[in-house]
């Protein structure tokens, strides 16, 4: 039944999103605890540092899979539009921040904030698009 709020593709996406989010939390907590208590170096340090990022990459891939699997073309358009607003907004915020950081000594922004900014902006865009096409 596809006229319900969530199509099978969307349900699969939400499941994958939750799994990658849980992995992200698990990997992040593990990395923080190991770095605080054991001060790892070398390949182990690299691996621990990369694990949370891999979970985020998995989340991005999950959205790509959703766009590929969704049969409702209008929902794909909404997904792509919200993604484009998110990307455009993130590029704008980070480039403005970068120039302010370079010229007026604004506090340095760690690059790990790029993805949360993207998620927030694309989420806002998706909510606004939902209102527009209610």
């Amino acid at each position: 039944m596809t006229c319900s709020t969530k199509s099978p593709a969307k349900r699969r996406y939400l499941r994958r999103f939750l799994v990658t989010m849980m992995l992200y939390v698990l990997f992040l907590v593990t990395a923080v605890l190991v770095f605080v208590h054991h001060h790892p170096t070398g390949p182990l340090a690299w691996l621990l540092a990369l694990l949370p990022a891999l979970a985020i990459i998995g989340q991005i891939a999950a959205f790509g899979m959703y766009l590929a699997e969704e049969k409702d073309e209008f929902q794909v358009v909404l997904g792509v539009q919200s993604m484009l607003w998110g990307i455009g907004g993130t590029l704008s915020v980070t480039v403005v921040w970068g120039f302010l950081e370079g010229f007026v000594n604004l506090q340095h922004m760690n690059l790990i904030w790029v993805y949360p900014i993207y998620c927030a902006l694309s989420g806002i865009a998706f909510a606004l698009l939902q209102l527009r096409y209610k």
Binding site: C3, K71, D72, E73, F74, Q75, V77, Y133
Partner: protein
Amino acid sequence: MKNRLRVLRAERDWSQADLAERLEVSRQSVNAIETGKFDPSLPLAFKLAKLFGTNIEAIFSDES
């Protein structure tokens, strides 16, 4: 693009949800097409035409 979806639905006493179920899309998608906010792809337009037993030109017109 103008369309006659609302009329065709009314003739069959179908709600937007009924049509969405038959098309295997969301009700939101049917509403977006019906109100002219979203133009469907050719495959979806053919699916609509087949469902209503007519041709695409009888449903959609390029009048603004």
